[in-house]
Symmetry: C2
Subunit: 238 residues, 2 copies
Amino acid sequence: MARERQDIALAVSTVIFALRPHPETGLSAPWIPLVRRIAAPFESRWALPGGWVAPRESLEDAAARNLLETTALEPTYLEQLYAFGAVDRSPEERVVSVVYWALVRADQAQQSREGENVRWFPADDLPQLAFDHNVIVDYALWRLRTKVEYSRIARAFLGETFTLTELREVHEAVLQKPLDAANFRRQVESSGTLVPTDSVVTGGRHRPPRLYRYNETIELVDNGPLGHEKTGSTRVVS
Amino acid sequence: MARERQDIALAVSTVIFALRPHPETGLSAPWIPLVRRIAAPFESRWALPGGWVAPRESLEDAAARNLLETTALEPTYLEQLYAFGAVDRSPEERVVSVVYWALVRADQAQQSREGENVRWFPADDLPQLAFDHNVIVDYALWRLRTKVEYSRIARAFLGETFTLTELREVHEAVLQKPLDAANFRRQVESSGTLVPTDSVVTGGRHRPPRLYRYNETIELVDNGPLGHEKTGSTRVVS
């Protein structure tokens, strides 16, 4: 260990996922907003939105602010992803980036600010980004895909109630593969993670589909015990 | 976001778990080594081993070095836990700590350096620690308990092959509750996570128990895709 405190810069970046139709297939897929860099290093390359942490701001507040300033969005889900600290990840000085990942609904994403220097891209099909940001996005995608299977995070894309078809479509978009509808229904029903509500989708169909919500009484990983605590840690903003 | 880079100190700390008999119950339980602080702030309080990151050292290398210097141990498992960055977590200056967690086997822990200022404590029964270190240990315990159920990390306590009884005893020690032997065997066998080896425990018993190993061909979370990559990230040291 270093005996003396070292001069290492601390930044926060955020990977913000929304589900939107892929330009080629037309199928729903994860997209992220990127920011074009207007200064060295990596001038004119696309990068994750991010910046320095302010003196009186927790890491999570910095991530939320970062997101608001870049896209004018407030996330429905925000969680710390990982601290990236390889020695040479930034060419000019040592920078450690604490990266958050966030989920926003498609209708929110549509209202987001977009312009010459802020644009949404399909997360699976990105240009060469600044720094190690391609590695970071791949890791965030892996986390999203793993976590959708064992947590309640899908509701960040859906709202509190949803049909089984809507939930399956979120899983299909995140995993980028079709899922058998009957199998999906069986798995969800046997897992106990969902509770049927008394409501159905209105609109006069003969057999209107039922609305479900997540079961809050069972233990799922979600944000873990740090959620909602004042530790500069994870939270769900709803 | 801050427009200018701020002066925030970056530290690394490590929660190192070994399984040892609890002093009261005699049953195996998670223990961690702590270091007594010899300077302000929190002088004479116990704290997690940690220190500043050196200029040419990744976060993970800093954590591994930290561990070696404190306890003379090399971990069998080392993974980033979380970056703690609440504004007031250190009284004198702003410090963000990237925390790692590590697992070591009991026989390694017994060889570790211990003395007036380094001592092992049962992780569930700690004194008031310096900074937010009690919160950090509780979070690390939660991560350990969650992860033992859906990953191969138990082998860090066991080695590559083990009997079902040894594996159950690790789960019982981590979760701090007795598990029904027949149920445990059934769950493990139906999950497909273990593979029987051709070996049994030697020693002349009439029905020597079979040795198992983890199934490497199925996908489990473990360290995720960052393991073994040069991103200053997670790794398994074996």
